[in-house]
Symmetry: D2
Subunit: 286 residues, 4 copies
């Protein structure tokens, strides 16, 4: 990401001639300096996707006025759109269970300033990671998930997330399945890291499944959570080579390294408004 | 592989103390010079796997005598074993349909001497690739597979393969499903290249399936053919990154590059007796 | 690449506000359907790069008229630019020595139609690969390079390339160093594959250098040839993992697989006008 | 690594017939259960390398007696050898400057038990990372390196490392060059992570060098520190793909992810006695 305040426009609409001209003409007329411009025309779905980063200082007014002026153009093309301001620090709620590798990785990036977000709280169903969280000055919310009282627990989480004003919820190896209504309350905002190369090995114990099948690469998948378990739109994936001498325990250990890296990449794409969802597919403007 | 004639011993047996000592002691007593030695003890299955390459010139006799002398030791440990002679040029039958990328790749390696095998013939259900095959001086066997006479066709192929004395049959993008009896006639000797990262996207049109699911990496899998379609033991796999701007046609094009590379690697491992099958898993001593 | 005739505009110019608006406005006014649009603003060099693909059928006239009309806009922004027509089949001259892996790979792609170019001839300083070339119906030009008569040989090659009307010259493991004047006669049009991960191991016997240094990955680099040996702009690179058990001979064998794949990718980017050179760097719009 | 106490034998010696037989016979006679066995015969240097893991419970005595009994055999073959006990927790001194990504990564692995070592102290020439270190209960040693008093500083470090009884010293992005005498005091025990794909871009600001050269992959190298800067034996390397749209700042950010992963892998290989040095090359038994 470049330094300096930016407005980030993302949009999608039915494809037709003249969209880029209209959007870039709109900014050119205002003297807007476009520093990153990506677009994609999906040939199958005949839908158009665009992302522009414009320097704030090149425009004579702020985000609200920019949105007001852009609205007629957006309506003309039937756009689904948003404009964000890079000075608005996004708010990310983390959810963890007992495993710390993803949490440590995110905290390290946050501490160094690489991950420039606010973390209003970390939610967990266990106390194991409480101390490292609070040492970083972040509130820790214990929400135990009892077998008989799951619904109450998830309603409590929903409240916490709502109060936190979260732009994103990250399941950093959170080991409970969210109920459908909770998934649907935050469409394309809950990010999960799955420890397999989806769609291989959905469900539980993917490394054991991978071992039994005798694959030669194992992977991890960062995706948006939907009500359909492990089937949400994929943001990023990666794999690592293993061989016959590796045990399931080795897979788990190697896997952690891919999991945290892929989760960090996916989260970054999300926070920089680089991910546009298109059915079960994503457009990721890197 | 190093130059010079070698004997290659591969074996598997129930794991116990003293196998390596017995095998290496056997060779040491004979003055046998071991130039490559690999072994693996599977902790789950409690089975032991070993591969030794011994220089022929370090032994005072040939392969037959070596096998005769090794037999008592093999019986003592309950080994499944074989000894091959690198001067015995292996025989590989290729089966193709219309796509040439894997065939060209194999012929190029063969022509240059990198792939040091005999190719007694290429079998195809189409005539498209006849000319490039015969130009290389290799007999081309057309065996059309009519919907109503599949069985006769596969019996004809079986005869050709048998007459050819094939050590391996390579399905180089051969687009027919072999019947169960034919798969079982050549256990761990028929090698297929599947154009997906198995077990994702088994069956037909895997690139279309991958596109619909929105994965970020596509792959190819080289495996032994079993009666259970696309479920045979995996020899090697690889993947390549794609993104939202790639169409299914792009997947097909990128995929060809991985397919031919992974097939060539898997075939090489097989021909050098580096692959030991263990249920649905393989031990590959690279 | 999508099917259907296209015009491909590529340009670079000093960066300023309004370039994208001007270019996309130009096409929108003509009803031009932009199916691929990429651009890049180099923050360091303050230079702007753009590539647009427009369907031919969406425009009321041909390439010549399109160029005539675009000229004033190009002059206004000080653009270096070109418009190509995908129906103009490009002409590629191959130069080889004795190693066949890159040649086989290119011929296979050409034969299958994946590589949609004309190959007016293959030039070589050896006769080894004559037969496979002529079997494909391509003229083979033997130009021996005698130690005492190098200049005459290179002048002969220059003539052949000129007569062939080559859009690109591919050094497919051609083992002679081209003289400075010849490199300069075809700026950004001679493509070489170097068998190392440049800038590591420039010069001769890179795999031996890699072995001596004990690296854990070896690579290949596809680059434009300049008078400065092995220092031309890099189009693409890749690597493969090796370990202590691999010999230099193994490196050579693995290396071939990366060489041919990276060369094919680089050549494709070049032929589709996806590569814009910027000093020693390249912008590659994939 | 499997659970359970092990003795790990590593050795190298001039290659000859019968080494494996002698070593495995030695263990077989004692009833020693070999759970991992690797060896490598270097064809160029004619040197033999071996690593065996034997379960402690399969032997009737401890490490000292094992070493006493192994000595005659070792002398017969002229071996350089050692036997370590996995119950002896190794001691690792970390050295850091200001950047936290490698430190956080190592602390996370240590906290979770994945990295089963003692960390007697962290040495730094800055105070930035003091708090996170001491929160983990690890002593923090500030040793400032003044331009005029470098020698005194390095002597102080030497004392700290000596007192700590370090099996390994890890330069986790420590930004000072160690003097020759200090490098030589700990041969093959000081591990550094270099932020380039060595031998490309030795020295300062490798990411800037990579940007200027226009490479398409950037990398990181984990190596033993020798008096010859950035030229020590390489333990592991990896790369990541970048493109024209990435700035040097992006390289730095991506680079951190490879740096910490490659350092963690290299450190693990070292701690598990998997790395044998052979001139400028390493044998790494994974």
């Amino acid at each position: 990401m470049q330094p300096g305040r930016r407005y980030v426009l993302t949009l999608s609409c039915p494809d037709q001639v003249g969209i880029v001209a209209a959007v870039s003409g709109f900014f050119a007329e205002l003297g807007g300096w476009i520093v990153e411009a990506d677009n994609h025309a999906d040939q199958v779905g005949e839908r158009f996707f665009l992302r522009h980063e414009v320097t704030a200082e090149s425009l004579p007014f702020g985000r609200d006025e920019l949105m007001r002026r852009f609205t007629p153009l957006a309506e003309r093309f039937g756009m689904t759109w948003q404009i964000t301001d890079t000075e608005h620090r996004k708010r990310v709620v983390l959810m963890v269970s007992r495993q710390e590798h993803c949490l440590y990785d995110i905290l390290g990036r946050w501490q160094s300033g690489e991950l420039a977000v606010d973390i209003p709280c970390v939610i967990s169903n266990h106390t194991d990671l409480r101390d490292i969280v609070t040492w970083h000055g972040i509130p820790f919310q214990l929400v135990e998930v009892e077998r008989d009282a799951k619904d109450a627990a998830f309603r409590r989480m929903h409240e916490i997330v709502k109060d936190a004003g979260a732009d994103a919820v990250v399941l950093a190896r959170y080991m409970q399945i969210l109920p459908q209504w909770l998934c649907e309350a935050y469409p394309n905002r809950i990010i999960n890291i799955h420890h397999s190369f989806l769609p291989s090995f959905v469900g539980a114990r993917p490394y054991h499944q991978a071992y039994d099948r005798g694959v030669k690469l194992i992977g991890a998948t960062c995706h948006y959570v939907t009500a359909d378990l492990d089937a949400g739109p994929i943001i990023d994936q990666d794999v690592i080579r293993i061989d016959h001498s590796d045990t399931v325990e080795d897979y788990v250990r190697y896997g952690k390294d891919i999991e945290k890296t892929v989760l960090a990449r996916g989260l970054r794409y999300h926070l920089e408004d680089r991910v546009l969802v298109h059915g079960r597919r994503t457009v990721v403007f890197r």
